[in-house]
């Protein structure tokens, strides 16, 4: 059973301040050859000896959901064996888009589908993540961090807030969009529109699945579902918000070269803020390792 460990002191300090490699809040000064000054101030974070994280970056590709799901599960099994032998020391991040698909979480209700589950308009998958039904498709960037929370903070609530923090920072720093959390509703909102959905699975403190950010997503497939089981609030995208909400939701006919640029910018910002929030250094890996594991 994974539980959240709450510490009075560490909860009072936002977890996205300085962390040492051990994941503990560090207030000490370290002397080393590559001198790094660690202070308690956010703004003075310098380059540190950050924990490394393998990154499989396919952000321009629309990968079939089943394929990416299989990759995650395979990595999770491998990491669990390492954890059992006390040899796990590198986290993993997969970045990609998906071909159009609906996915359900463990508790997902068919009541949140506006179609017969036996005759879905798109492929539909029942997954082992938390959260309700959602849509994935081109124009939406997905981050699948496979994180050993022992390296960070053994607290599921903290992890979910940290994932939200990544997106909130991206939206503000790069797009000047003021995003927020809604108490009791995991995800990232701009006004009454949800821009990012989050749902995870945890096993032996190892997390997988992750977050989906609507950048230039065609939002019309969301009308086939009650997204995340929330009836009264809508779904938005960065593109829609930047253009102004008076325009109708983007459809595939609105696709233009600007979408590609928007994805590029959002992707770069997502990786930057992910590294900042989790204090990681990405080590880019060839995606052929995932596609052809036996080679």
């Amino acid at each position: 059973m994974i539980v959240a460990s709450n510490s009075c002191l560490s909860c009072l300090i936002p977890p996205w301040t300085i962390r040492s490699n051990s994941g503990q809040i560090s207030t000490s000064r370290r002397a080393s050859a590559s001198q790094i000054t660690i202070t308690e101030s956010n703004s003075l974070v310098q380059q540190t000896n950050k924990r490394r994280c393998k990154c499989y970056d396919m952000y321009k590709e629309a990968v079939p959901f089943a394929e990416a799901w299989a990759w995650q599960k395979s990595i999770v099994e491998e990491r669990k064996s390492l954890i059992d032998r006390n040899e796990d020391d590198l986290d993993t991040l997969i970045v990609l888009q998906h071909q159009p698909v609906y996915t359900l979480g463990t508790a997902s209700s068919e009541n949140n589908l506006n179609f017969d589950i036996k005759d879905p308009p798109l492929p539909i998958y029942q997954t082992e993540r938390g959260g309700e039904v959602t849509y994935h498709g081109p124009g939406q960037l997905l981050l699948y961090p496979i994180m050993n929370l022992r390296f960070q903070k053994m607290d599921l609530h903290w992890y979910l807030r940290a994932l939200e923090e990544v997106v909130i920072r991206v939206l503000f720093s790069t797009f000047s969009l003021k995003a927020s959390r809604v108490e009791g509703l995991t995800g990232v909102w701009v006004g009454d529109k949800k821009l990012a959905a989050i749902g995870i699975r945890v096993s032996k403190w190892l997390t997988y699945h992750g977050l989906a950010l609507n950048v230039s997503t065609d939002l019309s497939p969301f009308s086939g579902i009650i997204p995340c089981g929330i009836k009264d609030l809508g779904v938005g995208s960065i593109k829609e918000l930047l253009r102004g909400s008076s325009r109708p939701s983007s459809t595939s006919s609105d696709h233009d070269d600007g979408d590609g640029k928007l994805i590029d910018i959002a992707h770069e910002s997502l990786l930057k803020e992910f590294c900042e929030v989790f204090q990681l250094e990405l080590c880019h890996q060839s995606v052929s390792i995932l596609r052809y594991p036996d080679k």
Binding site: S5, N6, L156
Partner: protein, 196 residues
């Protein structure tokens, strides 16, 4: 730090014989419900420990009492086992349910399947996160708590009684010996909370 020392000495001074809810009024605000559970007066004595639980994202805290029952064994992944005769009942602890928050879904295995010590047999979902539940012992599943399908919140309201998850016929009773007793588990929880 002063608050932690106070809580620790209060815990020692107030060694409780039944689970109660303590309010620390200067701090508590928006005290969420759903965590109160009482044990009948003839239940086995229990120890408990006090901890601060964050109430909401505004970082207010409430002092809550976490129940750890005598007569049970505990795994370091926060499951409990009650061995009675040839059957062992398994569930997750009060500490675990407190950290999870409201449980909205419970995934249980089929009767007749088997469980292996330290491996997952089911899952609980809360806060958009679904977490594995691991079995503290190995054996054959003889019963599952089907009430949890309709009322997953039983895990929150009654983690040691109505919120039990599976019953197992242990295949290796010596595995029970390796588990923690209530005092060890209490200490384990306090240390784990203190470390993060």
């Amino acid at each position: 730090m002063a608050l932690r020392i106070w809580a620790s000495s209060t815990a020692n001074a107030l060694r409780l014989s039944s689970a109660t809810r303590l309010h620390f009024s200067p701090l508590s605000r928006c005290f969420s419900s759903g965590n109160l559970h009482s044990y009948p007066s003839n239940s086995p004595s229990l120890c408990s420990f006090l901890k601060f639980r964050r109430q909401n994202r505004n970082l207010t805290y409430a002092l809550v009492s976490i129940a750890v029952l005598d007569g049970l064994k505990y795994a370091n992944s926060h499951e409990w086992v009650k061995h009675e005769g040839s059957v062992a009942t398994i569930g997750i602890t009060d500490h675990a349910q407190d950290h999870l928050g409201e449980v909205v879904f419970v995934e249980l295995p089929d009767i007749g399947g088997s469980v292996t010590k330290a491996n997952g047999f089911g899952a609980v979902e809360s806060v958009k996160a679904t977490s594995d539940v691991n079995s503290p012992i190995s054996g054959e599943i003889v019963e599952v708590n089907t009430n949890l399908k309709e009322t997953p919140g039983l895990i929150n309201s009654s983690p040691y009684e109505a919120g039990w998850m599976i019953k197992v016929k242990p295949s290796n009773p010596s595995e029970l010996e390796a588990l923690m007793g209530p005092k060890e588990y209490t200490k384990f929880c306090e240390e784990e909370d203190g470390a993060h």
